[in-house]
């Protein structure tokens, strides 16, 4: 009869993710135990590996940059009720834009190349998400299906483009030539000693700006208002004269453009050339980041940092703890994604019940509310 009372905001935003994270670490610890290693040593290795020194932090931030972009991409679409799981493909295709600009203009200066590469990444990523958005808006093809299909299409296109278009004659692998100095985004290590020899680059500032911009977009603009109306209640948005089809297409394009920023970080900032699979599934991690961050920029920033730390710390782990192979590290990372992302609702009912028991007044209020509703 009575529904469980929604969690108070602090519990929803702080307590629940922490509980999920804790569970993930406990289960990961069991896995480590199973192969005969000390979980506490492994845990320490991850933390030190992620934050132990400037070098490690630099790597953590580099990973986090990607996850901010893909997390925001998922969140923007989610606020409009759309589930964009095509961040991988959008970021991958955006690489074409970045590489084209960088290859064409790398004899000039990075200050010229960067803004153009930014636009090219946004355009190509946006385009790759606009098509599923258009299909959803005009033809009713569900974006979940189309965006994941577009990931595969993107992969095939990139293999073709790298082999047939971007690969110079004298190189064996499917990759473009390395950009000249003018086509490279400066790394933070050039200005800040401790980050030397790490991939973290200026695109991290783009990520920070994107966090603020998405916040403003969703909660402080009229478009954000329309987008949230659509996400909550498509009938009400039609009632309000909001064009649902236009809103879907624009939102998907924005989402794809955000995912495309991964290419700015990877292609122009780190690899300095177009390579196969440079996205490394950052698009999928973005789903977990957005879930864990409750689709809010602050949460996404923190969740991206966490996943960056896991990636970096996990990489270090295999060197510190003998017997923990690369595959074991992936399992641990997957467990964290599983518990904090896919199964983030695991503790919700229990936590709701616990909180209601702790506070009978609130419990009664919730029940009363249910009664009033059933009476009307």
């Amino acid at each position: 009869m009575s529904a469980l009372r929604p969690l108070p905001r602090w519990a929803d935003v702080v307590l629940l993710p922490l509980l999920n994270l804790l569970l993930a670490f406990v289960v990961s610890g069991l896995v480590v135990l199973m192969i005969g290693q000390n979980p506490l040593v492994a845990m320490q290795a991850i933390v030190v590996g992620a934050f132990g020194n400037g070098f490690n932090i630099g790597y953590t931030l580099y990973y986090a940059t990607n996850f901010v972009f893909t997390g925001l991409a998922v969140a923007v679409a989610a606020h409009a009720g759309l589930f964009n799981i095509g961040g991988n493909g959008q970021a991958y295709i955006a690489g074409l834009g970045v590489a084209t600009v960088a290859l064409a203009l790398d004899q000039t200066h990075w200050l010229i190349v960067a803004p153009l590469a930014f636009l090219a990444a946004a355009f190509m990523g946006g385009l790759w998400a606009f098509i599923p958005g258009w299909l959803q808006a005009k033809r009713g093809s569900h974006v979940v299906i189309t965006t994941i299909m577009f990931n595969f299409i993107a992969s095939a296109i990139m293999v073709y483009m790298l082999n047939r278009v971007f690969k110079p004659a004298n190189i064996m692998g499917p990759e473009s030539r390395t950009f000249a100095e003018g086509g490279r985004l400066p790394k933070l290590g050039e200005f800040f000693g401790p980050f030397q020899h790490t991939p973290v680059n200026l695109s991290i500032f783009v990520a920070l700006v994107a966090l603020v911009a998405v916040y403003v977009l969703i909660w402080h603009t009229k478009f954000g208002y329309a987008l949230r109306t659509l996400g909550f209640n498509p009938t009400a948005s039609r009632y309000a004269g909001i064009s649902n089809s236009k809103t879907i297409m624009i939102t998907m394009t924005l989402s794809g453009a955000l995912a495309g920023m991964v290419a700015l970080n990877e292609v122009m900032g780190v690899q300095n050339r177009l390579v196969l699979d440079f996205v490394a599934d950052a698009g999928f991690v973005g789903i977990a980041v957005a879930l864990m961050g409750r689709n809010h920029p602050i949460g996404i920033g923190l969740a991206a940092l966490l996943f960056g730390a896991l990636y970096q710390g996990g990489n270090e782990l295999q060197y510190v703890v003998p017997g923990l192979t690369r595959e074991m590290v992936v399992i641990i990372q997957a467990l964290v994604i599983l518990f904090t992302g896919a199964m983030e609702g695991l503790f919700r009912p229990g936590l709701q019940r616990t909180l209601m028991l702790l506070s009978p007044e609130q419990k009664a209020e919730a029940v009363a509310r249910g009664t009033v509703k059933s009476e009307s």
């Binding site: 009229k222 039609r238 649902n244």
Partner: protein, 529 residues
């Protein structure tokens, strides 16, 4: 509608002098608290066996809580329940059924793609094999149907039969399980007037057979028409229990609200001016492509209220949606102030608004509000692109300031613009929508079901606001399935049946019977006149 004249055989006089052991249900000092909310305060209620006992009260008065206690959904904090004179501690609905208490919920609990028979048996099977249960049920059902004149084809599939028949299945389910006392929660909310009459006949048969019926409703007319006794609840308390024959709707309304309420709307004569809304040959299909509005034409002039009456589902919803730009029309024209509106496309509603048309939708929770939004966010729904709320950036301070002013003007409670909209009561949600649509001073106001699920106190306010708009020279199109509402508010009534307007009536002269015939599609305009 059955009236007081056709049930002189009421056993109420006999019941009044019956011995004390004739109580079917006795509730004594029932208390139920939900924290700060005292939903039931020291409730005493005695229901005589073999009577129809009405319980009225506004939303939140505690009717449903009380019945939930009786049916075993909640346990009371304190108090005694006696069933047939025996103290009962009802722990769940299975237990209530064992004691002979059955409940017909407002929203039916039926499996749509099961047959009537299968639904009746569901949960009451004899063994793991279904066939013997069904055979036994078929025999018993046949007997029950004859005994209580509840004809339903046992092999019909639920989704193929009418709502009225589905309700019969719910009643049969309860009787099949041996219910002696039947609780009906707002049973007529989903029924046509004809189906409601049929239901009342069934209830009378049940009473004649010695069953006890508890009828929860907010419609005073039904109370007057069918019940023997009526109990009034207000804010968790039992205000009074009266013999229906010794009271009247005005007294009941006053008891429910706690102050005098005008049941009739007071309005002066209409003073119609030029045509503001004109609909020409409008044809509209529903989502499945079925044509629901067929070549409809009418007009609404400044300073008049045109009411569209009809049984729910005869195309009124599609008509409203097409006029307000929410649904593409197949053909026809809509003119606002003489200008043809181009409403096709999924932003048609924005163009309708720009043309001076405001829309209070039929379903405020599904259309009129985003229930997850704070009140202030909903206060601009549909008008958010207006320059007074800023450019690309939303001027939140301006929106909030205006929302606070309106919430005061329309007496929305609680007066908190930051509260989530789903937490307001139905009446206050409707006020939020009305404030938004009326305060912009539109030429034409289209209103669907303005008082559905709204308290009596708020109904009065809403009706007065609509009259005020009319008197300010606006054209108002009102669609309601509540015939009383149409008759008391409208200056002209159009009756809709099967997608066409079958007649026009003058509310001052048309009788309920005439309108009812037109709504049933039996008589056309000429025959009614």
């Amino acid at each position: 509608m059955s009236s007081d004249t056709n049930n002189p055989q009421r056993p109420s006089m006999a019941a009044a002098s019956a011995p004390a052991d004739s109580w079917a249900i006795e509730l004594e000092k029932i208390n139920k608290r939900f924290g700060a909310v005292h939903a039931n305060k020291d409730i005493d209620l005695k229901v005589r066996r073999g009577t129809i006992h009405g319980i009225v009260g506004e939303n939140g008065a505690g009717k449903s809580t009380l019945m939930s206690i009786l049916y075993g959904f909640y346990t009371a904090d304190s108090g005694t329940i006696r069933v047939n004179g025996e103290v009962a501690h009802i722990t769940d609905s299975r237990h209530a059924l064992a004691l002979g208490i059955g409940m017909v919920h407002q929203h039916f609990m039926l499996v749509d793609n099961f047959s009537v028979l299968e639904n009746v048996v569901l949960g009451a099977e004899d063994s793991g094999f279904i066939k013997p249960s069904l055979d036994r049920a078929r025999r018993e059902l046949d007997q029950l149907e004859r005994e209580y004149e509840l004809e339903v084809d046992p092999d019909a599939i639920i989704e193929d039969i009418s709502v009225g028949q589905q309700q019969r299945v719910e009643i049969l389910k309860a009787l099949y399980r041996g219910a002696e006392t039947l609780i009906l929660d707002e049973p007529t909310g989903v029924l046509t007037p004809k189906e409601a009459d049929d239901l009342f006949r069934v209830l009378e048969t049940l009473r004649a057979q010695g069953k006890t019926v508890i009828l929860i409703t907010h419609k005073l007319r039904e109370i007057m028409a069918i019940t023997d006794y009526v109990s009034v609840m207000r804010q968790g308390e039992m205000v009074d229990t009266l013999k229906t024959s010794e009271t009247n709707p005005e007294q009941l309304a006053e008891l429910m609200v706690g102050r005098r309420v005008l049941l009739r709307v007071e309005k002066g004569p209409a003073n119609p001016g030029k045509t503001l809304l004109e609909v020409q040959n409008l044809t509209v299909a529903d989502d499945m492509g079925v044509v629901r509005v067929k070549d409809v034409s009418f007009s609404v002039r400044a300073g008049e209220i045109v009411g569209i009456a009809g049984v729910s589902g005869n195309g009124q919803s599609e008509l409203l949606e097409a006029i307000t730009g929410m649904r593409d029309q197949k053909s026809g024209k809509v003119l606002l102030n003489g200008n043809e509106m181009h409403l096709r496309g999924d932003d048609g509603a924005a163009r309708a608004r720009a043309g001076g048309l405001a829309h209070v939708p039929e379903d405020r929770q599904r259309m009129g509000l985003v229930t997850q939004f704070a009140e202030w966010e909903n206060s601009i729904l549909g008008y958010h692109n207006s320059p007074e709320y800023g450019g690309a950036l939303l001027d939140i301070a301006a929106v909030k300031k205006q929302a606070a002013e309106r919430i005061a003007t329309f007496d929305v409670r609680p007066a908190n613009i930051n509260l989530k909209s789903s937490l307001f009561s139905g009446g206050n949600q409707q006020k939020i929508v009305l404030a938004r649509e009326m305060e912009r001073n539109p030429d034409v106001l289209v209103v669907g079901q303005p008082t559905r699920g709204v308290d009596i106190g708020a109904i009065e306010f809403i009706h007065n606001q609509i009259i005020k708009m009319r008197d300010a020279g606006k054209a108002i199109l009102l669609v309601s399935v509540e015939l009383d509402e149409i008759r008391s508010l409208a200056d002209r009534i159009l009756v809709m049946f099967d997608g066409t307007i079958v007649g026009e009536a003058d509310p001052a002269t048309a009788t309920e019977g005439e309108l009812g015939l037109m709504m049933a599609g039996i008589a056309n305009k000429e025959a009614a006149e």
